[in-house]
Structure formats: structure tokens, C-alpha cells
Amino acid sequence: MEVTVTINGDSHSHDVEPRTLLVHYIRDVVGLTGTNIGCDTSSCGACTIHVNGESVKSCTMLAVQADGQDLLTIEGLADGDVLHPMQESFRQCHALQCGYCTPGMVMAAVSLLDENPDPTEREVRIGLEGNLCRCTGYHNIVKAVLHCAEASS
């Protein structure tokens, strides 16, 4: 089935099997491998991208469901060499260890601040409950999100 999506501002069209998961389409067909596959069961959030501006787990969506939609992946966040404020905050606050959860964590955090620009620490922790960091580096991740919110206000 023909699928046309906009990813990070670029239009992509491909013929895919209906059962193709969106994350496989993004990684294997389009070739954008910044979006990671973690648990593959919509628990860990490593595959989080934005669909029409909202965080979504791309392992639990079919590519055909994304037809005609506007997608943003971690590759589309920075402006050339200038990091997105959330990426910059993750860097400054050392909000990553192994880095595997980081793309999904950053995408979820950007969506969180879009919906709640001035969250409390508790709201950040609850807002990121769909993303797991197996290095258990949550403390600095929360700090980074709060730092980004403060820097943007």
C-alpha cells in the first residue's frame, strides 16, 4: 500500500505492507535510525516520535496509519548544528548515560513542555512515565527538562 508522510519537513512515499510498523518504516525504509527500538511493546518509549506535534510510540502504530501525517523524529529537532533547547539542556545537565533512551526521552520531553510549559518536578516525572531509562539516570533527565522549561520562559 502506498504511504506518503512528511518526516522532518521532507516528503517520503513508499509502497509498504500494511503490517509494517511505523518505527520499522522510519528506520529501515526511510533510513532515519535515530529513533531506537527498545522493548517493542509500547512500554519503554525509546521509539517516541511526534505525530502532528504530539508524542507517540512508533512501535505501536502502523506506517499506513501515518499516511498523510506530519512526523518529527530526533533528527529533525536541531537547526543544523544548533541543538534544540531540549537537546542543549540534556547536554548541559548530563541527562544521559548509555544514551539508548535519549532520543525517545528528548522527544517525549519536548511534547511534555509543549503541553505544559512550566511543569513542577512531579509533573515532569509523571509526564515522562512512558519512557524508561535502564541506566536509571532519571534525576538528571528531570533536571534537564526543568532547566529547559526555565530557560525557555
Partner: protein, 274 residues
Amino acid sequence: MIPAAFDYIRAGSAEEALAALAEHGDEAKLLAGGHSLLPLMKLRLSTPAVLVDIGRLDDLSYINDAGDHLAIGALTRHRDVETSALVQSQAGLLAEATSHVGDPQVRHRGTIGGSIAHGDPASDLPSVMLAMRATLVARGPGGEREIAVDDFFTGFLETSLGDDELLTEIRVPKMPDATWGFQKFNRRAQDWAIVGVSAIVNNGNSGVGLVNMDSTPVRAAGVEAALAGGASASDAAEAAAEGTNPPSDLNAGPEYREHLARVLTRRALEAAGR
């Protein structure tokens, strides 16, 4: 994990969806937000031959004030329910429970109708439907019919919806002055409830629904009867597990679930001011 192959039909209208269901019968499954169905398909626990995607039927995504009740389109996303000022003011229990479904990403895709039509006893929202005595509206080849929530859940992941029917609307009685409590016990953020309880008290009438205490979502009828007889929260909560048949899994056996049901029901009733 990749689902087994299926034919995909994108419905452009409710009529198209019903036509596809009429053609393919029980070989077809409806796909809304996909956050209950796709995980089952990836595990190959569900292998429908045809998926009918109703995710773009925007005319079934709405929250309307319909006089004595809220009319909520079946394809309204959890995110839109939880943030709706109308739901928050007229059905606060539903807004609160919805904010505990999955996680933000799940709530951006999952729909109220999909969650209820899935008929999962471990889901949060069916307990709210039971507590608030909601009415479900289904559309089929013979037109529309209303289903009282007590007649809706018929078995594990089974409902009284026919293979040729589409859940279109959820009608939740408006209860602006109600007091309520929602309790969800789990061991990890975002997990299914090991046991959950929705309790609401409105004009002296109470409703209590249980999560994960049987093969279907169930009403705590014993608790409601005790409350009607004037029992205190803690006395009424003693009846929470009566008549239930709780499942056993890695998290808990039946006895522990019965204990949780009593404790959580007491807490929910206390939160509701009983």
C-alpha cells in the same frame, strides 16, 4: 515483533466501516487508536484477516453537553477527554481515571471507545462506565441501539457488540456535584492496574466499579447495597470482593486481589466523602 499479514481497509465514514464489517464478518477487526489491538497483534494473540481502520472518522471525535448527560464520540482520544473542561466539571471521575490510562504517548493515540470496546477487565475506563452507569451507543446494519453498561461486558475481551456493529458514542450522566474516588494499584508506573476501583456518590446514590477482579469489568454490587443501607465506607468496603472471581498472574493471586479490592474500595469511598 511484527503482526501477521492482514488486508487493510481505511474507512472514510462510519457507513464504509459498517459495509466492511458486513462483508468480512468476524474475520475483521476495527482499528481505532490501536493501543489495545496492535500489541495483541504483535504478540500474534490476535490475527485478524482484515483490519478496518476507523482512526480517521473525525465526526466520531467529540464531547458534547446533551442535557442530562455528556455525549462522547467513541473515537475521542484519551488526551482530549482528560483535558476537557466539560468532562472535568461534569464527570470528574472520568477525567481523573483517563489521566491514569497508560502514559502520555498512549493517551495521544488511544480512544475512549477503543478502550471500552476492547472489553479488557484490566482497563481503567470500564470501571468508570460501571460506576457512573453509562450508556453505550452502537450502530449496525439495522440502525442505532443503546446498550446499558451492565449488559455490555459479556466475557474476557468480549462485549455485546455484534461483529457487524460499531460503537459510536458513550453517554455519561452529568454529575457536577458528585464526589468520587479513583484508586489504581500497580507496582510500576504505566502498568495495568493489579486492582483498581472507581467509586462515585451522587445525590446519595453510589456506584462502584472494579478493575481486574474478574474475567470482565465488574460492579461491586455488594458495596453499593451496603452503602444504600447506610453502611460506613469501611464496612461497605468489606463487601468489595463478594461475588468476584479474581484472576491469578505473576503479580497477584485471587486472595491478594480480594484484599486489594477491599482496601482500595475503602480508600476510594473515603475520597468520595463517605
